[in-house]
């Protein structure tokens, strides 16, 4: 049913006479006002307006075609490393810009054309569609039940118990293979979380220069990241190991260290703390050298490095683990053992 088929009687003036389709009575106290009168669009009445809309839709589709051609042309024609300056955006890659623009225009104008078409030319007459019961008719139901019973009888499932029972067994066992695959989530970590690569005598190697550090290299107020001696970036397990062993070295004036254990474990004010946040394990090194605070960028846990890396703000549960350091015979900084407690976030068995 198109709007053109019912021109005159549906014009607003004609419909005003229709009024309500039911009146209020005892059973149904609310009158049903019926649908509002249908109003015609300009395009339904004026063929020239309809032609104009048709041309607009066709133009949008044509723009889409041109944009697609433009997409192909720019893919072929624009070198991938050419940069252009586009005013509000800045220096950008010309190919990316052309591809994005043409693809966007091509898709958008297809959609816009379709929407404009539907809004101005397709029928907009309101129609009522009555609800009907979902239930099948009694005949259909009886037929389906009879078919099922006959099928069950022919398969002899009720009679041949061996087949039935083995089938149930096969179906019940099959999901176990899926459960078994979950084993790949293991093996259990064991004591891996409790140990790092640090051990007694391991030198502290500066990550910038890949050279062992001397106490004189570390100035008060400086920040240095070190890795354990022997761990190289090309090693296969570098990421696994550095994720636990990452260490930050700062130097405080010894009289500024408030925590006695921290002072004992330091060397001339040089302290070594784990770089892994004890909340969820983000690398944490936003060090403020005047306040000696370290901030975690993920959830704003703040630790006071002058007071045993105590948590002074945020969700972290415990202080950053400190590594005991000293100096070996050749004057290089060395670890005096592994961390005393597991580094990083808490876990069930951490205790």
């Amino acid at each position: 049913m198109s709007s053109q088929d019912i021109p005159e009687e549906n014009l607003p003036a004609e419909q005003d006479a229709h009024g309500a389709v039911s009146v209020a009575d005892d059973k149904d106290p609310f009158a049903d006002p019926g649908l509002p009168p249908h109003e015609h669009r300009i395009q339904d009445i004026d063929e020239r307006a309809a032609k104009r809309s048709e041309r607009v839709v066709a133009m949008l589709f044509t723009v889409s075609m041109l944009a697609t051609v433009g997409f192909i042309a720019s893919y072929v024609g624009i070198p991938h490393d050419k940069a252009i300056y586009v005013f509000p955006i800045g220096h950008i890659n010309a190919l990316n810009f052309a591809l994005g623009l043409t693809l966007g225009v091509a898709l958008f104008t297809i959609g816009a054309g379709a929407v404009h078409w539907a809004r101005t030319l397709m029928s907009d007459v309101e129609i009522a569609d009555e609800r009907h019961p979902i239930e099948a008719s009694p005949e259909v139901k009886a037929k389906v039940m009879a078919d099922f019973k006959q099928g069950a009888k022919e398969s002899a499932l009720g009679r041949r118990k061996l087949i039935r029972n083995t089938m149930f067994g096969a179906l019940a066992l099959f999901p176990l293979s899926g459960v078994m695959l979950l084993r790949d989530l293991g093996p259990l970590p064991g004591t891996k979380l409790r140990h790092t690569l640090w051990s007694k005598g391991k030198l502290l190697v500066n990550m910038n220069t890949n050279e062992p550090l001397r106490p004189s290299d570390v100035a008060v107020g400086s920040l240095t990241f070190v890795k354990p001696e022997g761990l190289e970036e090309k090693d296969e397990d570098f990421q696994t190991q550095i994720a636990k062993a990452a260490l930050m070295i700062v130097r405080l004036q010894p009289e500024n260290i408030k925590d006695k254990r921290e002072l004992d474990w330091s060397y001339e004010g040089i302290v070594a703390f784990s770089k892994i946040c004890t909340h969820v394990g983000c690398p944490i090194s936003l060090y403020e050298q005047q306040t000696h605070h370290v901030l975690c960028p993920c959830h704003q846990s703040t630790f006071d490095l002058s007071d045993g890396a105590r948590v002074i703000f945020g969700p972290a549960g415990h202080a950053l683990p400190q590594l005991r350091i000293g100096v070996n015979d050749e004057g290089y900084l060395e670890a005096l053992g592994d961390f005393e407690e597991p580094v990083g976030p808490a876990f069930w068995e951490r205790g």
Binding site: L11, P12, A13, E39, H40, R41, I42, D44, I45, D46, A83, I89, G90, H91, I92, N93, N96, F97, G100, G111, V115, R119, T120, D124, N206, M207, N208, T209, L213, R214, S216, D217, V218, A219, G221, S222, L223, T224, F225, V250, P283, I284, S285, L286, Y287, E288, Q289, Q290, T291, H293, L295, P297, Q300, T302, F313
Partner: protein, 269 residues
């Protein structure tokens, strides 16, 4: 004759003679004797120190003490070196509007010549890092890729991956490195201004610093290319998510409104 000579000896004549003699001696001393001694002092360096001291007593001594020894309002400047002065004054951070942990950048009020004089004076108080030369911070011989690695290890935690800056505790922040002169970046790494830790040459070598500066120029310089287009401040997922939610979703809502909007209706004439 007697009368004449009596008149010639005016009571003040002795005073005049004495003054003349003093002036002559002083003048001679000034022109002859001190000349040789002044030669030793008369280098550009000591002049700069003198000038710097004057500038210091006017502009800095209120907080940092008359001899750079520091006070409750400002830290001691003994041993901070010329590089620290060049950074702090050259970026307009000093003189500070008010003492505090975060001193923002502002308009530079000293000329470079005056900054050099101030730096010379502060450097004379105690040994410290000197102002780097162009050979040290310039782009020649720098490894940009290595610089990127070093930047991400040492700097990115506060200054963001491309040096856009970031937030710290209690309203402090790590400033954006956009448009900061290479010399000042070098000095900041060397001296650790305000709450920034220092990265002395012993832990971050001169070559490392040069690499970092070259990397920053590559990713955050005036001609840096952003292949993806709008970088939205380069702040990562927060600004990008905000943009997507507001403008992406906003555009979708606008289209949905347009799809379902009432069309223009013909009026019966």
């Amino acid at each position: 004759m007697k009368k004449l000579s009596a008149r010639r000896r005016h009571p003040l004549a002795a005073v005049v003679v004495l003054l003349l003699a003093l002036a002559a001696t002083g003048g001679l001393y000034a022109t002859l004797a001190p000349a040789s001694q002044a030669k030793a002092d008369d280098t550009a360096q000591s002049l700069a120190i003198d000038e710097g001291k004057k500038l210091y007593s006017v502009g800095c001594a209120t907080c940092h003490g008359t001899g750079g020894q520091g006070s409750s309002d400002g830290p001691s400047l003994v041993g901070v070196g010329a590089a620290a002065v060049d950074f702090q004054v050259g970026t307009g951070r000093m003189p500070a509007q008010q003492p505090g942990a975060q001193i923002p950048r502002k308009k530079v009020i000293y000329t470079q010549a005056q900054i050099d004089q101030l730096a010379a004076y502060i450097a004379s108080l105690g040994a410290g890092p000197s102002i780097p030369t162009k050979a040290e911070y310039g782009p020649d011989g720098a490894d940009i890729a290595k610089g990127g690695e070093l930047f991400r290890t040492n700097c990115a935690q506060c200054h963001n991956f491309t040096g856009k800056g970031g937030a710290l505790t209690h309203g402090k922040f790590a400033p954006s490195l956009e448009g900061v002169a290479p010399k000042h970046i070098y000095e900041a790494m060397q001296t650790g201004p305000q709450n920034m830790p220092s990265f002395p040459d012993t832990t971050l070598t001169e070559q490392n610093k040069k690499d970092i500066i070259a990397y920053l120029n590559a990713v955050n310089g005036g001609n840096t290319e952003s292949p993806g287009g709008l970088e939205l401040g380069g702040l990562g997922p927060v600004s990008e998510g905000l943009f997507a939610w507001i403008f992406g979703l906003g555009a979708l809502i606008a289209v949905a409104v347009w799809v379902a909007a009432r069309t223009a209706k013909a009026k019966k004439s």
